[in-house]
Amino acid sequence: MDKYDITLIVNGRSSTVSVEPRKLLVDVLREDLGLKGTHIGCEHGVCGTCTVLLKGRSIRSCITFAVQADGAEIRTVEGLANGADLHPLQDEFWTKQGLQCGYCTPGMLMRACEIIEQNPDPSPEQVREGIASNLCRCTGYQFIIEAVCAAAGRMRGEEQRPDQATMPTEAKA
């Protein structure tokens, strides 16, 4: 089958790759670009672990062909931390135990990014509703909801932890 040259701007970095049109975005991210942070779960759009941001909006990269994302900006879990400084969401997932096995985490984090971007002060109920798109089989969701709410607070400039006086630049964008 013919291959197509596509350009993806992933976490601010532009890459041109030659792909078969049937290749899913998640497979191009993982195999062609080596970004294994985005996980593959159900492969039919139900579990949400493959969630990435495409043009700032959360999508399922397992039911998106990479060719459909040609020329688009994509943000993956690798784009959250600023060097060694974790994104507030990552930091809160860590401190509040918003993960156990970690399989759903990249999708949860990217979905949470969009939730906070659309509503910087979400209620726990709104977070619960918002992450209903993503399955977690370990945590029972409660700690994830607490982590997202705490991260949202920090991103609003409230409740900063002393060791996190400066937020990662990504969080301000």
């Binding site: 089958m1 013919d2 197509y4 078969e20 049109p21 049937r22 899913l24 497979d27 492969e43 039919h44 759009g45 949400g48 969630t51 495409l54 909006r57 959360s58 999508i59 399922r60 397992c62 039911i63 998106t64 062909f65 060719v67 459909q68 040609d70 979905r111 969009e114 918002g130 209903a132 798109s133």
Partner: protein
Amino acid sequence: MKPPPFRYAAPTSVEEVLDLLAANADAEPRVLAGGQSLVPLMNFRLAQPGFLVDLRLVEALTTLRTERDVLVIGAMVRQSAVERSPEVALAAPLLVEALGYVAHPPIRNSGTVGGSLAHADPSAELPAVALALDAELLTAGPSGTRTIPAAEFFRGPFTTALEPGEILTEVRIPRREGVGGYAFVEFARTHGNFALVGVAAVIEMEKDIVTGASITLSGVASTPVRAAAAERALAGTSADAATIEVAVDAAADELSPAGDLHGSTATRTDIARSCLRGGIQLALSRAQDRR
């Protein structure tokens, strides 16, 4: 699994799309809108089109506008864009309410209104809404364009009036600013999953009398269906509790949903009753609040 190989093109005009579909007719070509139904089917290899025509670069299909008396939604407008549109909130609040039940936000960020209608899943929300709102579907094909009323568009499970080589280009919904009340209610085992039954209702009132009712159901037949008996039972009445029960009974009597492991015929009919009652009550209360 991964999708089987296929050839691919992403043209920029409807004419090119139609030419590509015609030129590759032997390859069982399909058009790709948001892909939120088609790509999972291809991952499962339940669908194996030999040629995909991606509509994402066709500018003409991205329009979302209000004309004098209709709301026009281009085939490539994403569901989340429709959901957020202040124009749609005014002209077709029923559509916005129903979109809240369509899968989850990440799916709606990619999925299109046109794609959901053309996919014609009998359990899906949007076909029932199109029917309730008397939407018209504009198509383009080898023999020109057609305007198909929603009532004639849905022909069976995953089957529409679209001919081979023909595509849906636009959905046209009569505007209902300030007219009556509306409601979409459904019952799903899990939030975001396909519902067992859904009900779309639009009720117009004048001086406490129902002057018009449009009520449709999803999930109870091979296509969305109109609850014509309930509409008749409500028309011209003040729609008190007893009348609503008469309307629900009349509509339920006409239903014979196929049972499966998710719910028997009796269970689905019972859920349909409950959804009809809830939908009619909510639409009525909104119609009354409006006055």
